[in-house]
């Protein structure tokens, strides 16, 4: 995965598979602590502690179509390369939170990439789920939810090219205002 937003696109699939109805994506930049964290929380089926511990192994997966599961291991690899880590907090029936910590100024920390596009495709691709995005930096915060977007747009589809472009601008301008890392 080349960017943080690629990881988001990927890890969110786990939450969807877990039957989540609300998925929160939270990015925090703590410049003074040299920390960049990505947290994905869901209210899906959760995992017991044994499964959660194995979820970071590349040769563990709950699916049957293939024998490997690389989403979380690749996230962990990228986090560890910057002196960070990945933690999974999960409880059966309650949901799961995956938190990846990256070194903010580390040269190997992936760029954020096309977060607006990822958020859009995620919403479009999973109409049955609600998504929330929160980005916090010392300069401020930006938050948006799939419900905000759907309520604002009403009958007009998210897939309209003009609307997609407008949402990209909405993300870009707001993230720029809080000096979010690109």
């Amino acid at each position: 995965m080349k960017t943080i937003s690629d990881h988001i696109l990927d890890i969110v699939q786990n939450s969807v598979k877990a039957g989540a109805t609300l998925i929160e994506i939270i990015v925090r930049e703590k410049w003074n602590d040299d920390l960049y964290t990505l947290e994905i929380r869901d209210d899906g089926c959760g995992m017991d502690s044994e499964t959660a511990a194995r979820a970071l192994e590349p040769f563990f997966t709950s699916r049957t179509t293939r024998k490997v599961g690389l989403g979380l291991p690749l996230l962990r690899q990228n986090a560890m390369q910057t002196g960070g880590s990945v933690a999974i907090d999960s409880e059966p029936g309650r949901g799961t939170a995956v938190t990846a910590r990256f070194g903010y100024s580390h040269i190997d920390r992936p760029a954020m990439g096309d977060i607006a596009g990822v958020f859009l495709l995620t919403i479009i691709g999973h109409p049955q789920c609600s998504f929330a995005y929160l980005h916090v930096t010392p300069e401020g915060e930006f938050s948006i939810t799939s419900q905000d977007l759907r309520e604002t747009l009403g009958e007009v589809p998210l897939t309209d090219p003009g609307i997609m472009q407008a949402i990209r601008e909405l993300f870009g301008n707001n993230l720029e205002m809080i000096k979010a890392s690109k």
Binding site: M1, L121, G125, H126, G154, P161, A166, E169, N174
Partner: protein, 131 residues
């Protein structure tokens, strides 16, 4: 045009779009829609499925094709990612492999619009993707 920085700005934009959009009176009944499922597991994303899905969303919207584009998990054809399952109304699902933008355009222009068969189908013996 003013910068879009808030939902209020987005709403203005939406009103503009709504005016020029001829409201299609399509029922959202799944039977009448073209269903496009893009494989978006780790293998798909690493192979560029995001660009593929983006292209399908923009192009079907642009050409006013009544389609619903969604994401799905790994179909087990990691070697052929990005993979896309297309279900035309009343037809069996068909899975295509190695779908980059050029292939996606061919699938839209030839398979979805004209109903012609195109290269790159993955022979399947299942009905649809269940996981």
């Amino acid at each position: 045009m003013n910068k879009i920085t808030s939902l209020a700005d987005l709403k203005k934009m939406k009103d503009q779009v709504q005016n020029r959009l001829k409201m299609r009176e399509n029922s959202d009944a799944v039977e009448t829609l073209v269903q496009i499922k893009v494989g978006m597991a780790t293998c798909g994303i690493a192979s560029g499925a995001k660009d593929t899905m983006n292209f399908f969303v923009e192009e079907t919207s642009h050409q006013a094709i009544d389609a619903v584009v969604t994401q799905t998990g790994c179909m087990g054809f990691c070697y052929a990612e990005p993979t896309v399952e297309v279900t035309l109304p009343g037809k069996e699902p068909v899975v295509f492999g190695h779908v980059d933008k050029a292939k996606a355009r061919e699938i839209i222009d030839r398979y979805i619009i004209k109903g012609e068969l195109v290269d790159g189908m993955i022979p399947m013996n299942f009905k649809t993707i269940h996981d």
